[in-house]
């Protein structure tokens, strides 16, 4: 077991992640620190926020109640984002290491995960500011200990859920429905599970040694995971994946080589884990509109612009920034087979447009909030098709890192480079820049017309831009082929 952890540490420390440029590492470290600070600050002011919403309740009681929903939300987040603890287990199967040891190791490996640290970042400031000054230490620490146990239980439940329902949309929907029902019952004061939860938590903290009940819960969850993992030790090897989407998109084939290339790329997205997860996450991005299109914001053009941009270009941006890298592992196919390179790039452009059209049509429903939104989203849609898509395509020709399609997109920086990161920001900053120019010249009312107009101009001229991109890519052919060949 000890040896296994040593190997794990070596795997991490020798990962190509650390061999990325120092600048990128700094950027990532900075982003992580920002997130940590954000959580700490939120935790520190949690009491004031809660007092404002529930002025008559005991603050600790309210906080504990909120924890109930926090754990539900956390479980959902974990389900979507946290990876299953898998291990390159094959080399060990032949060695005299007991299967049981491997399973224990796999489960324990999931414990030192950022997901198990985040809750404490949120809770500790509250703990120090509110709980310890008012309550005896023994109570405070039993409370904290119980929460630690629940974090672990959540961690193990997530493993169970992920093992049973990966990539089936139904359980996610079911989960959301059940949560909604629980929230409604709570709100309408029929049965309040959050109150029960809070009472149990506080009772257990008050009474010495009852926290051991929570330890039992952890052990139970662990045991269950252990049994299931031990039983399914061999599944997932050799059986192969089920075929998906074999007949879909056939209508695109009538558009010749370009259409065929698009069909293949759609299959790439739907049949491989990383792009598929990205796709699902982007669907959630589309809900962003509910946050942005609030009454107070409807007169703020800047916010509306950002909202329309995220909602209509979300998936296109997320997927488009890695164009060509997605195909890195088989890029030679496109280099030796008989087709016009121009068609290849055109297929990419049309695909990005297709994403935009789909996102545009789906999110047009926001017009029900205010008809103005339809106008703004239409302008941004034209802009995205005519400008953003072409810029993405151009900058993507700098990509030369291959992407492993089978891995989860979360905390996965494979294929990310500083240049590419900056390009993505740059692409976003262009409409912001245009906005500022219009604002300070007093022409704000023409801003969205202008965006739409340059969008249309870009669409009309797309062939010229594609020709430029083609020329660039021909020049970079060997560099890309060489880069994609490197294993990382």
């Amino acid at each position: 077991m000890y040896q296994l952890f040593i190997h794990h540490l070596k795997e991490k420390s020798r990962a190509t992640f650390w061999q990325k440029s120092a600048a990128l590492n700094l950027l990532l470290i900075f982003a992580t620190l920002m997130f940590i600070v954000y959580l700490l600050v939120f935790g520190y002011y949690a009491d004031e926020i809660l007092l404002e919403i529930f002025p008559d309740e005991d603050i600790l009681y309210t906080f504990s109640r909120m924890l109930f929903y926090y754990f539900i939300a956390e479980l959902f987040g974990r389900f979507l984002l946290q990876a299953l603890p898998v291990l390159t287990i094959e080399p060990y199967l032949l060695l005299p290491v007991k299967r049981k040891t491997l399973v224990h190791y796999l489960i324990l490996k999931s414990v030192p995960s950022p997901f198990n640290v985040f809750p404490f970042l949120l809770i500790l400031p509250f703990f120090i500011k509110v709980i310890t000054p008012l309550h005896p230490y023994i109570f405070s620490f039993q409370w904290l200990f119980a929460i630690g146990c629940l974090v672990l239980v959540n961690n193990f439940i997530n493993i169970l859920l992920k093992r049973s329902f990966t990539h089936k949309p139904l359980p996610v929907v079911l989960f959301l429905v059940v949560t909604a029902i629980i929230m409604y019952l709570d709100y309408a004061a029929y049965i309040s599970l959050s109150k029960i939860f809070s009472q149990v938590l506080l009772f257990v903290s008050k009474t010495n040694f009852y926290v051991l009940l929570f330890v039992t819960l952890v052990i139970l969850a662990y045991g269950l995971v252990y049994i299931i993992m031990l039983r399914n030790f061999y599944t997932g090897t050799g059986t192969g994946t089920k075929l998906r989407f074999t007949k879909s998109f056939a209508f695109l084939n009538q558009f010749g080589v370009t259409g065929h290339l698009m069909v293949n790329e759609l299959k790439l997205i739907l049949r491989n884990k990383r792009p598929r997860s990205l796709f699902y996450i982007s669907l959630i991005f589309m809900l962003y509109g509910f946050l942005i299109y609030e009454k107070d914001n409807l007169n703020n053009d800047f916010i509306l612009m950002v909202g329309g941009y995220i909602v209509t270009a979300g998936f296109m941006m997320n997927y488009g920034q890695f164009l060509f890298s997605w195909e890195g592992s088989y890029y030679p196919v496109f280099m030796i087979n008989n087709f016009n390179f121009n068609d290849y790039i055109k297929a990419k452009y049309f695909l990005l447009c297709l994403f935009c059209v789909a996102a545009y049509l789906l999110t047009l429903a926001y017009a029900l909030i205010d008809i103005k939104i339809a106008f703004i989203q239409s302008a941004l849609f034209l802009y995205n098709v005519g400008v953003t898509a072409l810029l993405l395509l151009y900058f993507a020709s700098y990509n030369k890192d291959s992407i492993d399609l089978s891995r989860s997109p979360m905390f996965n920086y494979q294929g990310v480079t500083v240049a590419q990161f900056l390009f993505t920001i740059l692409i976003f900053l262009i409409p912001v820049g245009i906005y500022l120019v219009f604002k300070y010249t007093g022409l704000s009312s023409y801003f969205f017309f202008f965006l739409g107009f340059i969008g249309v101009a870009g669409i009309v001229l797309h062939n010229r831009f594609i020709f430029l991109i083609e020329k660039r890519m021909r020049k970079r052919k060997y560099k890309m082929l060489h880069g994609f060949k490197q294993k990382n």
Binding site: G240, T241, L243, V257, N264, K267, Y330, P332, N338
Partner: protein, 222 residues
């Protein structure tokens, strides 16, 4: 042509004539794959050039219309089924689904696995290789380039492939095949290039003495 820093491949000049069937042999790291990649314009020579039908492969792409090549797994699209992949390659050469189906029918002794039941990424190494090799024959190309096509094949498939390559040769196609199996290459090839440390050390016309000669050459190497 020369390729890169610590020179991997250094060939003053060589020519392969239309209709020839050429075997490329040499130990690991000799430069076989590098040479084939240069033919296909996948890497850029530090000096010199490769011409097919008098046209520089790096400047003129017409070679793609009449060349079929399979070097390794990177020439397959992993998330397609073999059938989807072959239809796709076929479509690039103006073949429709029915053409591909009759092609598979004709070669079904080679690919016995269910052709559309699994993704390529879930196939065994041997079946992946078969898919790639079939892909090169599909467009009925004039020039065929294969890197170690026998390596992961079962004995029946090896025999089938040898037969197939000989037939293609008889039809007048040009074939370049690398291999570690001296017996196979001497059986089917009429000309053999032996590469060592990036240089062509032997250029032989195959006859009865070639196999013993090569065997002796590689024995001494130990």
């Amino acid at each position: 042509m020369k390729y890169y820093k610590n020179v991997v491949l250094n060939v003053e000049s060589m020519q392969i004539n239309p209709g020839e069937i050429v075997g490329l042999i040499g130990n690991n790291g000799a430069g076989k794959t590098t040479m084939l990649s240069l033919f296909l314009d996948l890497i850029k020579p530090a000096e010199g050039y490769v011409k097919i039908k008098d046209k520089n492969v790096a400047r003129d792409e017409t070679w793609k219309t009449y060349t079929g090549a399979y070097l390794n797994e990177r020439f397959l699209i992993p998330f397609l089924t073999p059938f989807e992949f072959l239809t796709y390659i076929g479509s690039l050469h103006g073949k429709n689904k029915a053409d591909v189906e009759s092609f598979l029918e004709a070669n079904h002794a080679f690919f016995t696995e269910d052709i559309s039941g699994k993704y390529i990424r879930d196939l065994s190494t041997g079946n992946k290789q078969k898919t790639g090799i079939l892909g090169t024959f599909l467009s009925d190309p004039e020039l065929i380039i294969l890197d170690e096509p026998f390596s992961a094949l079962d004995p029946s498939s090896q025999a089938w492939l040898k037969n197939k390559l000989s037939t293609l040769h008889a039809e007048g196609k040009t074939l370049i095949v690398s291999s570690h199996d001296l017996k196979h290459v001497t059986d089917i090839c009429k000309r053999i290039l032996l590469i060592e440390k990036g240089k062509i050390v032997m250029d032989l016309n195959v006859n009865a003495e070639t196999l013993p000669k090569l065997e002796e050459y590689f024995m001494v190497k130990q």
